[in-house]
Amino acid sequence: MANEVCFRNMDQDRPWLLEQYRARGGYEMLSRILKEKMPPEKIIDEVKASGLRGRGGAGFPTGLKWSFINRNAPGHKYVVCNSDEGEPGTFKDRDILRYNPHQLIEGMVIAGYAIGATCGYNYIRGEFWEPYERFEAALEEARSAGFLGNDLFGSGFDFQLHSHLGAGAYICGEETALLESIEGKKGQPRYKPPFPAHFGLYGCPTIINNTESLASIPVILEKGGAWFKGLGVENSGGSKLFSISGNIKNPGVFEIPLGTPFSELLEMAGGMKEGSRIKAVIPGGSSAPILPGDVMMDLTMDYDAIAKAGSMLGSGAVIVLDDSNCMVKVLERMSYFYHEESCGQCTPCREGTGWLYRVVNRIETGRGRPEDLDLLDDMTVKIAGRTICALGDAAAMPVQGMLKHFRDEFEYHIEHKRCLVG
């Protein structure tokens, strides 16, 4: 039951070509919608019925998000795709751009039609130059074939689509930072409300969705919301791409139904590397609290199960760590990341992420103090939930997860000025 949605073309030769996409019935959904002048509400209802939750990390129901847009508001509206893919451990959207760009394009045009937008932007992280070129080529193909542009299929509906290239800033994955970035500014998140659905790109109503969310749309409409929902489990409709990496044999991206046991996913990825034992798993990108390996082995990969275990499914980025890893070092690296990537506007995040990193770094380098763990705990409380965007939470959660499950390793470090492992 793998590869049903975003990866359903993976068996094809050069699947990114328009020709190949069309051979599988690509753009037929769009054509039907436009020719039939399908009521936008119907599309949105279908997306709602599919149980699709945003694949960018927050898991917000996509259909509900779309329904916030007032189609009849005067002026422009925008569809923005988030291909910034910056969460450490995540590398799935790159594959969509590289291997299935047309499905994303079709999804964006349909989204545009559904919310009454006539223009879309795909924000691709700056380092993804090759995927960007692949996507640009697909845009060219789609334009010449009449799937983008004015008066599509004679319906009177216009839709332009462009890509915008980032330039190295994790924070631009945050949706409002991303909008600021398209507007030619620093990627500093906006305070919400107002939400993008009311005040988005250039001040106009805007929906922002992850690459995978948008690329799922054509298949959902083709096969029906109920079908999609049925792939997954309660509260976690559909199948999802999981980027799995770490100390495993065959890291990669796998599309599997939500609710699949983690152990199966690990098996698909070849299991642990030779001679290594699973120690811990970060189940949803580096901001998701880490879980011990044995806990993970009993979990299924869906929003509720992971949340119940005290972490989150996030973007579906699974990092598997074996027992050769020092958790202090792992946390030090992650804390360094959030400190480096804080946009700098909120006091708790700007000052707190730097402080967090420095304290973990002290512990790692043998200069830790007994009171440091309480200090770390306390700091995370003062950062999480008190900032403009969720980067503050993203920086705090890994610390909380580590201190919850691997506190002893930190204590050992502080006391013995060296590592418990290795």
């Binding site: 450490p88 790159r94 380092e127 990627g187 100390n247």
Partner: protein
């Protein structure tokens, strides 16, 4: 209406835009400008900085950013803000090949530290530095979204994954002078 919502364009657009960049660069920037609403020329600033950086040896100077500002009718400080915010813009001269090594978790636990060490020795340059012959600049970067191929680095526009010392040797040998 806060300044977040209005295009921060200058009151008097610069008149002699031709003089700012050569025809090739202008044509490329113009392509970016065409993607956005006409009153939002500044949306093209990231594209423009990228092009200008590439065409000027891989790094930016205040003068180049001033020209971008003039070309896009922006206040220079607005361009400096953008130029200094995103990590792919360089403000010091770089080597002909910029090697961006990911050291984030997935790469780290797959030996990124050894990759860095190997490169530092081979090129006789520290992270953040440039080799004596000016050919390579070594840079530590955050997760590049290719953890499946850890450890990995990026040179120029290309990703190289599943790195080993031998692979690195052959990759560097294959780069133009």
């Amino acid at each position: 209406m806060g300044f977040k919502n209005i295009p921060m364009s200058t009151v008097k657009p610069s008149e002699n835009k031709q003089a700012l960049f050569n025809a090739k660069i202008r044509a490329e920037i113009d392509k970016w400008i065409a993607k956005y609403p006409p009153e939002w020329r500044q949306s093209a600033v990231m594209g423009a900085l990228m092009i200008v950086q590439r065409e000027h040896g891989g790094s930016l100077t205040p003068e180049l950013m001033d020209n971008v500002a003039a070309y896009l009718d922006m206040a220079p400080i607005a361009v400096y803000e953008v130029g200094s915010f995103y990590s792919m813009y360089e403000h010091k001269p770089v080597g002909r090949h910029k090697i961006c090594v990911c050291t984030n978790v997935s790469c780290m636990i797959n030996g990124a530290d050894q990759i860095v060490e190997y490169l530092e020795q081979k090129l006789n340059a520290r992270l953040g530095g440039t080799s004596a012959d000016g050919k390579y600049t070594l840079k530590e970067v955050e997760c590049l979204g290719a953890c499946g191929g850890a450890p990995m680095f990026q040179i120029g526009e290309k990703y190289y994954e599943n790195l080993t010392p031998e692979l690195i040797d052959s990759i560097l040998d294959g780069l133009e002078e």
